[in-house]
């Protein structure tokens, strides 16, 4: 089992404007099993992106540790794929080359890389866009590329930082449904950061509510899959869970 373990994780940094040390993340412990889909939800400034950046290895932790499969995280690595809010596609690479980037870095033969990339593009319904450049795609399509680029590298954990926050509401619902479908097919471990309560509950098996750098509560989401918005919007259990989470977030 490739387990992700956060043990007493904390992050303090010096704020030059305030002239003081600020604690962004305080003593956070969390265990994520392989194949789990966990949402971390909280208001802006609650430290959720800081946690994700530490798991990704982009910034060092001030205290505690992060263990993936028993090994301590130290810097970024291909076993932890990241999907960014700003998509972060390489503008000078075609969609195909963006998705093939990870496999190519791993040193796979060219034909193999292309095969993998095409397979994942098909998974996201993007086969027709393979030869295009990112700036020729809509925001929703760009983020589909962002998701499959991370998946094509076959990471142990997929870290998603408010990935659907900058696309329009309709596209967002479609992307959320597609993500649950892909998760069911491939069963990657996903940690999904969001400030949107409905999104957090819709996607995850478990919602972690974060407030002022601490975990407020973990809530299991036993809703059946596949999940679809036109069914769930009126679903009593879904609404009750959302209400519960929202209350926690607002009390924070």
């Amino acid at each position: 089992m490739k387990r992700l373990l956060l043990r007493n994780l904390s992050k303090t940094y010096f704020d030059p404007y305030a002239g003081a040390h600020v604690t962004a993340v305080h003593d956070v412990s969390l265990e994520v099993q392989q194949g789990e889909f966990v949402s971390i939800v909280g208001p802006s400034g609650c430290g959720k992106t800081t946690i994700l950046n530490m798991i990704a290895g982009f910034i060092p932790a001030s205290g505690g540790e992060i263990l993936l499969d028993g090994r301590a995280v130290d810097g970024p690595g291909p076993e932890r794929g990241v999907v960014f809010q700003s998509f972060a596609l390489f503008p000078w690479k075609t969609v195909l080359d963006n998705v093939a980037f990870g496999p190519r870095i791993r040193g796979l033969p060219k034909a193999e890389c292309e095969k993998i990339a095409r397979e994942y593009l098909a998974l996201a319904g993007l086969a027709h866009a393979a030869g295009r450049y990112p700036n020729e795609l809509s925001g929703g399509m760009q983020q589909r590329v962002g998701v499959v680029r991370a998946l094509a590298n076959n990471p142990d954990v997929l870290l998603m930082d408010e990935p659907f926050a900058s696309v329009d509401a309709q596209t967002r619902m479609t992307l959320q449904e597609e993500l649950t479908r892909i998760w069911q097919e491939r069963r990657p471990t996903i940690i999904f950061i969001t400030h949107d309560v409905g999104e957090a509950v819709f996607l995850a098996n478990r919602v972690v509510v974060l407030s002022k750098g601490r975990i407020l509560k973990e809530i299991a989401v036993p809703l059946p899959r596949p999940r679809a918005w036109d069914r769930l919007t009126e679903d009593a259990a879904f609404k009750a869970l959302c209400g519960q989470v929202l209350q926690l977030v607002r009390s924070a």
Partner: protein, 268 residues
């Protein structure tokens, strides 16, 4: 007014079919004005020759083989100098752009030496290297180097942090990230540097040829001054302008269209 608009739309339509017209038509009024002033007899003909005399002199100099030889000399000098300047400038720019310490140490020095303009070096270079190719090459490399270094550094720093992070989280090493992320991301700025560098380099070359040269377009013009041949001086000036236009239209602009503009990094 409507007539002017109609003429303009006619020009737009015709030039869309024959793009070469776009490079020729704007010069018609300029040449016409020149011809009118020359023909009016305002100035003595020997001081202010008309377009036809220049064309004639062009024919003669091409026929004698002087113009092609000089042109070749100038272009080879510029190409060699530019290639060396770029080969030095891009790595240096990447270093300064990526490494805080290198930036802290080198940036002030770069700004200082950038301020000592190309030909300001000529007096000391003439003492060190005499009237030689070394002197001329030094001036061109020097002139090309700084715009390339400074713009490359700027471009390197303009690559968003997220792209560095994306590459790292996909497993790319530092060297791989520089090659596949930093350099392409900096390319629009590198092109700006190259454009400026070539422009300055071209000017520096002419200046150096005037002072140092025994051949080249700059030498042609200065030699013509000694002989009192205004026609050949004008010819030299026109060749300079034309050559720059060709470098831009045939080399720089196509590269920019195929890279930064295609990728949406710079707006058309």
């Amino acid at each position: 007014m409507t007539l002017l608009l109609k003429l303009w739309s006619l020009y737009a339509r015709v030039s869309a079919r024959f793009p070469a017209l776009r490079s020729i038509v704007p010069f018609i009024p300029v040449v016409a004005l020149w011809a009118v002033v020359a023909e009016s007899g305002m100035f003595p003909r020997a001081f202010f020759p008309g377009p036809l005399e220049v064309v004639h002199s062009f024919g003669t100099l091409v026929y004698k083989g002087i113009l092609p030889d000089y042109l070749e000399d100038s272009i080879v000098r510029l190409a060699v100098g530019t290639a060396a300047g770029v080969a030095l400038g891009i790595p240096l720019g990447v270093l300064v752009g990526l490494n805080q310490r290198a930036h802290a140490l080198l940036w002030p020095v770069l700004l200082f030496f950038q301020a000592i303009g190309d030909i300001a070096w000529l007096p000391i270079l003439l003492i060190w290297f005499g009237f030689s190719l070394t002197t001329m090459t030094f001036v061109i490399v020097y002139t090309v180097l700084f715009p390339v270094v400074l713009n490359t550094a700027l471009g390197v720093r303009s690559v968003p942090l997220e792209l560095h992070r994306a590459a790292a989280s996909l497993g790319a090493s530092r060297a791989r990230t520089i090659w596949e992320v930093v350099l392409p991301g900096a390319l629009p700025n590198i092109m700006t540097g190259l454009r400026n560098g070539l422009g300055y380099g071209w000017r520096a070359l002419i200046a150096a040829e005037i002072i140092v040269g025994t051949s080249g377009i700059g030498f042609l013009m200065f030699d013509a001054r000694r002989a009192g041949s205004v026609v050949e001086i004008l010819l030299g000036m026109i060749v300079l302008g034309l050559l720059w236009y060709m470098v831009d239209a045939w080399v720089l602009a196509p590269i920019e269209r195929a890279t930064g503009q295609r990728w949406g990094l710079v707006t058309r």
